[in-house]
Amino acid sequence: MIEFISSQILFYISIIFLLFVPGYFFMLAVWGKENGFSSIEKTVLSFGSSVIIVDFLMLIMGRLDIPLSKVSIAGSVFLFSALSLSLCLIRKKIGAFRKNESEPKKTGFSYFQTIAIISILFLTVFIKTAYLTNTVFPTSTDLGHHMYWSKVITDTEKLPTYEESDVIASGEGYTISEPEAIADFIIGEHLIFAAISSLSGADFVSAFPSLILFIINIASVLAVFALALEIFRKYPQGVNIAIAVLFFIGPIYALSSPQAKFVSGGVIGNMFGNFFIPLALLFFIKALREKKSVLLATAMFIVLGLAFTHHLSTFIFIFSLAFTFLLFCIFNFKNLFSHIKDWLRLLFSPWVLGVLAFGIAMVFLVHTPSYLNPSAVDTAVGTPSKSTRTGLTFSQLTSTAGQARMIFGLLGLAILLFSKEHKKYGSAFILGWAVALFVMSLKPSLLYVDIPSNRIASYIIFPLAILSGFALIRIFEWTKNSLSHQSLLINPSYIIVMFFIFAVFLTQGGFTDNSSSLSHGGNTQSAIQTFHASGYLADFADKEKDVVLKDHNYLTADAWIKLYFMNGYNYPFSRGFFKRYEDPIKVREQCTLQMISFPSSTEAKKCFDGTGTNFLMVHPQFDGTQFRKTRNFWQVYSSNELTIFHKPQ
């Protein structure tokens, strides 16, 4: 137990050191201590910029061939923080902060508002924790794939080369290809996990990756709250709207995608995207409202971090920004020229140009994100190529967003659109964000978007939560006003009843969704057996000679097996989902299917000969019989959920 507690303390120290310290000192260097940000803004900015700074420090060290060890990571973060603090002190001495101070905020919360916020946050954390109790164990496929690359960084102390070998046809037979580049992974998804593991010694096959994702999820809830506070800052009920937003994004629908389910599912890129997008929007709005180039530079720095972390989120952000720009131009057509002048003044400033130059240097001199190649761009842009990419129906989108959130979100959108505030920056941003996601999810062909529509749709909950909170409080405000003006045709008591029906409806919908997502028990027993068998085989497997094939259909946590071998992303090879072998559009190799499903067939024999596959990890009940029928295999390991067959050469 003492060992566990000390490892936990080290883990939390690593989290604070890597995920808060560099960003906090960076913030001090740019704005000084009295910066006008609220404590919530400081927290989300410290966290977001820390992630980006650690990523960039590791990328620069990797480019300079400095080993990414515990010492170099800790040293570079310490050095960066110390330099930032020195810069802060120097700038303070020369009085540089006065002109860069952000506008003082007046977002102090009342006693009851503070209690409401703390209660909502408590409920949010509590519900998610209850869900994660049964799902925090490392079993998810996506997380297993991602953690392989993070472990590569920790093990080799180098940046990974994203490539994999595959089974390919060769003449009459089959062989294993030379490693080929894969564009599915982006370096920012893996660096922070590698850094935390290096510093804390946390094992990748543990709860630690999910716990980090949980922190990111809560940070995104906080970022949306901060964004709502900023958008509705000038509204008389601004703080209450933001609290309603916190309720819509926090405890209700707390588990459905892209929230806690993405935490345990290991959808790292989306999790980061859902944090960085509202954070970047927050600083874009602040920059334009306060006309401060340093705030715009911060927003762009966050977008740069996003671009090094997740391509889909970056893509969505660009579309959201484009829609915002379009809507703002339409709404403010008369004064457009003066706005453009303001924008140009902000853009052509040393801060913004500095970030742009830094971004260009990072992309072209330090590390080019893997998705910036023509084939990856082709796969995301163009006429939708598959039925899953041609857009969702409205009912599918409603089910993704949550019925209550969709209804109130649309109400909020309509109210905002027809209100006099729609010309403001805050309104334009939230409308642009929501409309972009509606079009991208429902009619992607209009925008030439060729990305799975359900993946885009998962992003819509954030703008919808903001619009829902706005709608709810606006309706409440109208109700309250109508009560003070007795000239209404409708009896005010009916309005009160209607309001409470609304409130019950959205609460019930959100909590029903939570309860349906809660699982009664995890599959840890099966996963433990997978890990045990993997450890057993990894002790004997010769990385040069032995080739392992495992099944993805019936084995639990099979994506994590590769972390025991660390012999390539596709080691062991995998028999994928059966339907993949029948895909008429993308014809796939059949060897991985044949070698497990029909090991005695002529085709399978060719595959065994060509690939050298000599170990097979399969489920004993579903795939054991076909091996036991022949005398070509040894059954060398057996447990309730997994068995290993060996094909002696």
């Binding site: 404590s39 954390v125 509590f126 630690f208 716990l211």
Partner: protein, 125 residues
């Protein structure tokens, strides 16, 4: 100090919630990683999966403690024995045999209602 607490009460509260949650989840996951805690499974494997050695190991993570093992040469039983293994226990049983050319040697182990087997077909090249 009071001003600091007042200004940061929301973030501090959230920090406490998160710290408690993370610690609790890590503790839960630590128990889940324990192959014995709340588990009911056992494994049977050859000490060396690649060589001709027939030594095998039983690893118990179930509530059953009595294991009965049998060694078959093709279909005839040649050895048998019993082992008592507490939960978390592990035992390696040596098996020596000769003249096994192209013969299937099967190790069958039963515990409670469950039986598992492993085998090798040795060729003396």
């Amino acid at each position: 100090m009071y001003t600091f607490l007042k200004k940061n009460i929301i973030i501090l509260s959230l920090g406490i919630f998160m710290l408690s949650s993370l610690f609790y989840l890590a503790l839960i996951e630590r128990k889940q990683q324990d192959p014995n805690y709340g588990k009911d499974w056992w494994a049977l494997y050859f000490e060396n999966p690649k060589s001709n050695s027939l030594d095998f190991t039983i690893e118990n993570h179930s509530g059953v403690e009595s294991f009965q093992w049998e060694v078959y040469l093709e279909k005839s039983k040649t050895y048998e024995g019993k082992s008592e293994l507490p939960k978390g226990g592990k035992k390696t049983i040596p098996v020596s045999a000769s003249d096994l050319d192209d013969k299937k040697v099967t190790i069958r182990v039963s515990a409670g209602e469950r039986t598992q087997e492993i085998y090798k077909i040795i060729t003396n090249d």
